[in-house]
Symmetry: C2
Subunit: 470 residues, 2 copies
């Protein structure tokens, strides 16, 4: 029996896709950076089926590529071009196994779409706080495997902080059952943290127990015009203190980000009469009813006096709140329409964000005349999407050819400042070389040792995350 026959007998022939047209959407990377090839795309319907498929592939020596919603931004979920791999899609593992409002937990299979989990939590009077641009199509297994970030990290943590338990199929097909609802468990090494952020190189996440929180009853959102990112830092600290640490989003937006949004994205408009150099989208939320509005108004009144705020609008309705968020979320889309973009997903200590933006801006403008810096993002996490838009009227391809050179300039500064070259998007395939360049030898060595310990034959998502031996 060939491997494909074996796999068909496990998942049924309808769930083994071999025709090019059927495979198409599984092989193309989100931004079009990679287009892989696969022996087959397999869609198991249960953890046991995943385990059986992995065991069969392992015995046949066939590389495996786990895939969730295929929304990753670093190519971690697409196979290489050689066509030797089997893609294992989790999309049929889409049952919510339990929602428990007493425990504040939700147990879900890996293929559940993030938005469906947010909805299930909401239906139970709770909040599942993970929130990011792709939430309508990304799947929780991918979120976990990449330790996804998003807009609520400041208050609720990264994905790894939202996971209580995991179930994982190991590279040899064994099932690791860590699917527990425990808030404290000090019985040995933190295996589940290894799988989170490993981008499927150590095993395939098949299910998880997630933390829920009380659903907010009071949400206050302000768009604040500010003189510079330093002011944003001070506002953030004041807001955390005044609100009982209820700042659930703190997004920095540069003038150019707003301008591009207004120019290219329908429905985006500037709520202020005058132009301001920077904006801060500040959102407070709490399940305690009342009080945040006053806290926010007091905060802003003091900020005007101290010159930290130039102008501000508070959302008076849910629609107005969404309009503020749209202004923030429109930036990547607007950049795309404005021409080529070179992207960086960097983090430094929160207090160093202003310095990082200043230094990197000077450096890239010196290196490429006319380049337009669009630095925005999750100020509260020290995470900036330091994106570059091509000079006006420049050639798009010529600009994009500078990707590596620009990356090196920005990443050199970020790393010198103790920062991260991939704050929330991961390494995947896109940043493996960059990782090898910047990580200390001892880090790379430890990663290789772990990879060998879990996957001695290197069959699980090969070529991702762990730099190959030189």
């Amino acid at each position: 029996m060939t491997l494909l026959d074996q796999v068909c007998s496990i998942v049924g022939p309808g769930n083994v896709l071999t025709a090019a047209a059927d495979q198409e959407s599984y092989l193309e990377e989100e931004r079009g950076l990679y287009h892989g090839a696969a022996l087959a795309v397999v869609r198991p319907g249960s953890t046991e089926q995943v385990a059986a498929v992995v065991k069969a592939c392992a015995e046949a020596g066939i590389p495996m590529v786990p895939q969730g919603g295929n929304t990753g931004l670093c190519g971690g979920g697409v196979p290489s071009e050689d066509g030797r791999s089997v893609v294992i899609s989790t999309e049929r593992l889409n049952r919510i196994r339990a929602v428990d409002a007493v425990d504040f937990t939700l147990t879900a299979e890996a293929g559940c779409v993030l938005a469906s989990l947010q909805q299930a939590a909401d239906d139970a009077g709770c909040l599942f706080p993970l929130s990011l641009g792709a939430e309508g199509s990304c799947r929780i297994g991918g979120n976990i495997s990449t330790n996804a970030g998003g807009t609520n990290v400041l208050r609720y943590g990264n994905t790894r902080d939202l996971v209580l338990g995991l179930e994982v199929v190991l590279p040899d097909g064994q099932i690791w059952n860590g699917l527990k609802s425990l808030r404290k468990d000090n019985t040995g090494y933190a295996l589940q943290h290894l799988f989170m952020g490993a981008e499927g190189t150590l095993g395939i996440v098949t299910a998880a127990v997630l933390k829920l929180f009380p659903r907010p009853a009071d949400i206050q959102t302000a768009l604040v015009a500010i003189p510079d990112p330093d002011a944003a830092l001070h506002l953030l600290g004041r807001a955390r203190r005044a609100s009982g640490d209820a700042v659930t989003a703190c997004e920095l937006i540069p003038r150019i980000g707003l301008e591009l949004g207004v120019r290219h994205v329908p429905g985006v408009r500037d709520p202020f009469d005058a132009a301001h150099p920077w904006y801060l989208l500040l959102e407070l939320s709490s399940s305690r009813p009342g009080g945040l509005r006053e806290a926010l108004e007091d905060l802003l009144a003091a900020a005007f006096e101290d010159g930290l705020a130039l102008d501000a609008v508070l959302a008076e309705s849910g629609d107005q709140r969404l309009a503020f968020w749209r202004l923030r979320e429109a930036i990547p889309e607007a950049q795309k329409k404005e021409g080529g973009s070179i992207k960086h997903d960097v983090a430094v200590a929160t207090s160093k964000v202003p310095e990082m933006i200043r230094r990197c801006t000077v450096a890239v403008e010196e290196a490429l005349s006319g380049v337009r810096v669009v630095a925005f993002g999750h100020l509260g996490d020290g995470n900036t999407h330091f994106n570059l838009t091509q000079p006006v009227d420049a050639d798009r391809q010529a600009f994009l050819a500078d990707w590596g050179r620009m990356n090196r300039i920005v990443h050199d500064i970020v790393v010198e400042m103790g920062g991260s070259i991939s704050a929330e998007h991961g390494i995947g395939r896109l940043k493996v070389e960059e990782l090898a360049h910047y990580k200390a030898a001892v880090d790379i060595d430890l990663m290789r040792r772990i990879k060998s310990a879990f996957d001695p034959r290197g069959l699980m998502n090969p070529g991702k995350v762990v730099p190959p031996l030189p």
Copy 2:
């Protein structure tokens, strides 16, 4: 040059303790369960000295035992009796390197006493929330290595959730520098999470960047008399929702715990006129001034109506608050004075705590007539110290001889319920066999593979955490 000469040349002869009297306090386990022996106790004064000592020991093939405040409850920090090991104490690594109230971070060396970090945070207008009984003498490196829990986990997480970055000396003497202040960093495997909870078996934590939080401005504490643990669960859920998730402690106390405290511990008194079966110590705190008192009063008013609360006292002063806490903290001390205690540090899903207490109580009472169950602890984390006090007038030694049998009864039920046999105290030496008994073979195998990958010669804290091959 002998190893000891070498080590003396690294740290200075005054920091190499070989006389029995000098070594004494480093060799005795907190509860007197173990008394180890050591070639020497070495006290390095810097990370570089730790690295050099480890390198020298590794080259000489000498086992090493990292030690912080030596307050662990499972023998993880004391050497074995064979006298072949070197104890490496972190006590001289006691500098606070930085406190940053803008970043909300504190950078400390491993030997800093926990209470000194709490104080440093407070001095900067911030909170470092880790809090536990031994805080006056335990050291942060030990807290990190054991992933310590304590009373604030419900709101702020376990120690691993409070750590942004780590510096670790690996078993071969290399320094792993993960000492970063990043709130997002997805560049490869979560190495720092492996070191946390590994109890020094994968390396020695030498420094850490810790998360700070806004300092509470409003603290409200209530002692609530309740009919049973189920009522506590409902109160917890309501309190989380009503307070904006500001419940920072939720401690369950049984009638017998209060009685023993009143009997044995000076200053502990029962604040109620009548006797009640159970009590809940509920604390809300927030940096947002005002509002929690009203929330708590409303909550209790509703609870009286619904029969969830039988009586309640709200702390009217800081002293009264401390008296409530003293009532809770007195339980272990009071148990000690009442006779022999057999202890369990177990966790189940929060919603299953009442069932766990019921089932375990029936089982141990059946197995040993007259045994007195004192089940108390961190209800909000699902973590119960299910402790047994000897029957009245029983022989202490005969009772303690039942330790293993009682453990088996309790742990069987807890594991069957998907729980943990060591919620916050870790494995150390005390629970290695218990771990081997209860963990799945695949878990133990993965732990051994990791241990071999990091410490192939098994020199770093041997005999702890990882069960030996049979």
